[in-house]
């Protein structure tokens, strides 16, 4: 159950891990922005974008397999775009006969569909690289530097701190429910739909009350330690020369992608 929920940060010592988090956040965001701006069917640019991803993955000692496995999460969503293959006008490639209903796939539709998929796949990999090389407190600190409202960042840091605590708590609730729910050989059981929904609702209510009480204890503990509505970090977060160079290099790659997409081929 927790498989997909484990922390995606990979603890390695590398040039990319060592960069200022601001540079990584801005570059990841600009990379996605630039990929989304690539026109349909710019295959060379897509390929170069993938090369850039691979280069960063190698430099960060993250491994191409890790990025590739993680990037499959976006694919179920491709279902919403697949209809384009059959609806965009263009040269018909293949015709399916479904009873009286005729579906014909067009070349224009296929190009648009695969382009959307390629752009989405590249973007997801950039986001994975960002998470894999940046600890979440540093990520949040970068957001604060980048003028995200302080209240929001503070709530986010509390949320991440207690995320795994509450996920563990939920896992225990789910395991307890499973332990109490014997499965009869006839395949019948589990009560009515409303009964099952009520059990899930009671669990949710239970979790809510426990969370509420926990937040009270947290606040008292914070007061006891002298909290003054400010968080401090021991990481200095200074932009060094290598951060500027890495950021500038990243932007040059993005400009190259746009140039290739619009003027080559």
């Amino acid at each position: 159950m927790l498989e997909g929920l484990l922390d995606r940060y990979l603890n390695r010592a590398s040039f990319v891990h060592d960069l200022d988090p601001r540079v990584k956040v801005v570059n990841a965001f600009l990379f996605i922005l630039s990929v989304v701006l690539l026109p349909d069917g710019a295959w060379i640019a897509y390929f170069l974008g993938w090369c850039a991803i691979l280069a960063v993955a190698l430099l960060a000692r993250v491994g191409a397999g890790f990025v590739l496995r993680g990037s499959l999460v976006a694919f179920p969503f491709a279902l919403v775009a697949i209809t384009l293959v059959f609806t965009l006008p263009g040269r018909p490639l293949l015709t399916l006969q479904l009873g009286t209903w005729e579906l014909s796939a067009s070349d224009a539709g296929l190009v648009r569909f695969t382009s959307i998929l390629a752009r989405s796949w590249l973007s997801v990999q950039a986001a994975i690289l960002l998470t894999a090389t940046t600890r979440s407190p540093d990520l949040l600190h970068a957001l604060r530097h980048l003028r995200v409202p302080g209240l929001l960042v503070t709530i986010l840091s509390f949320m991440i701190r207690y995320l795994y605590v509450l996920v563990d708590e939920t896992t225990r609730l789910l395991r307890a429910r499973q332990a109490r729910s014997a499965w009869s050989a006839q395949g019948k059981g589990g009560g009515s739909l409303f009964w099952r929904a009520r059990v899930a609702g009671n669990m949710t209510g239970q979790l809510f009350l426990r969370s509420l009480e926990r937040s009270d204890r947290i606040y008292n503990a914070m007061l006891a330690r002298g909290f003054r509505s400010q968080f401090v970090t021991i990481n200095p977060h200074m932009m060094r020369r290598r951060d500027w160079v890495a950021g500038g290099l990243g932007i040059c790659v993005l400009l190259l992608l746009q140039f290739v997409a619009h003027f080559v081929s």
Partner: protein, 324 residues
């Protein structure tokens, strides 16, 4: 493709998780919703900071973690599908509209930033669809059901939760349509059809969770607590409904409205004086050209301007009332 992947796809399709990944929305749509979400979040942050003390900071962080964790609680419905919670309506009922919006936005930010559940560039759209819209619908609860009997309050909460899933799905479908990722004629009915059913699970869990809290800690959801938390709910909901109408506006007919039609038929159109100044001629934002996005942007700008004027007039009236 192995069975694990197939079952993963099936699970994604049959649950209310509609996190849009990057690449599925066009740049104008993604940026427009970043602007809307960022604006609403800025208002929410200011309001919450005014209303709540520093005690609420850990509370809201833990509540965001709670919503994230509660989304894992599921129950079998039928045919391998399962119902589970999105949580926007529940958050707004328990915490009030603005705090509920902030909490829901944090859930979606963490899902996108840490778990790649939803993209970064399209995060504004995801925050709007699953966070702000659902919390705004949930905040209607305080106005509609604040003083009613327990049964009525539960039913209102359930219906709002069901509607919130449908509204989120509708907006997801419209964004995909405007981006050219999927034709309107297919994606809108498909998303609505699936989520009208999925929303039932959301409604049932929300009702049951609320009933549980009413029974165990009635002080948390009493009429007094509701009055303290609500109040502005109508403003929030009204603003959001106006925004919804603005975004839907390009779907409306491009034909002239009734009065214009009559004017043309009767031949007195030329007599009509041109307005002294036109900020957005024919509801088109100059920089964006004559596209649906431009019409939406014009509509949204209009809504915001009207809201600003209304707030200023309200302030002035209140000041005058305070003086006399």
């Amino acid at each position: 493709m192995d069975t694990a992947m197939l079952s993963h796809i099936w699970k994604e399709v049959t649950t209310a998780r509609m996190h849009i990944p990057d690449g599925f929305l066009s740049l104008p749509v993604a940026l427009a919703f970043w602007v809307i979400s960022a604006g609403l979040l800025a208002i929410a942050a200011r309001r919450t900071q005014q209303q709540l003390g520093e005690r609420q900071i850990p509370l809201m962080g833990v509540m965001a973690a709670f919503i994230f964790a509660a989304q894992m609680i599921n129950f079998p419905v039928a045919g391998g599908t399962s119902g589970h919670l999105l949580g926007g309506v529940l958050a707004a009922i328990m915490l009030g509209p603005w705090a509920g919006m902030l909490v829901m936005a944090c859930v979606i930010i963490v899902q996108g930033l840490l778990f790649q559940d939803g993209g970064l560039l399209v995060m504004g759209a995801n925050i709007f669809n699953m966070g702000l819209l659902t919390a705004a619908l949930g905040s209607l609860y305080h106005g509609l059901a604040g003083r009613q009997s327990k049964g009525v309050r539960l039913v209102v909460a359930g219906v709002l939760a069901w509607l919130s899933v449908i509204a989120g799905a509708l907006f997801t479908a419209l964004q995909l349509g405007f981006s050219g990722t999927s034709p309107f004629a297919i994606v809108v009915p498909a998303m609505l059809g699936v989520h009208v059913l999925i929303g039932i699970g959301e409604g049932l869990i929300t009702m049951a969770a609320l009933a549980f809290v009413m029974q165990v800690r009635p002080d948390l959801v009493s009429v007094e607590a509701v009055r303290a938390g609500g109040g502005r709910s109508w403003v929030v909901a009204g603003l959001l409904i106006a925004l919804v109408v603005a975004v839907l506006s390009p779907i409306a007919s491009a034909d002239p409205d009734g009065l214009e039609r009559v004017a043309i038929d009767m031949g007195f159109e030329e007599i009509a004086a041109a307005p002294p100044y036109e900020v957005l001629p024919d509801y088109v934002v100059p920089l964006l050209g004559e596209t649906p996005v431009s019409t939406i942007a014009a509509g949204v700008l209009g809504v915001l301007v009207v809201a600003a004027v209304a707030i200023i007039v309200g302030r002035l009236l209140r000041q005058r009332a305070a003086i006399t």
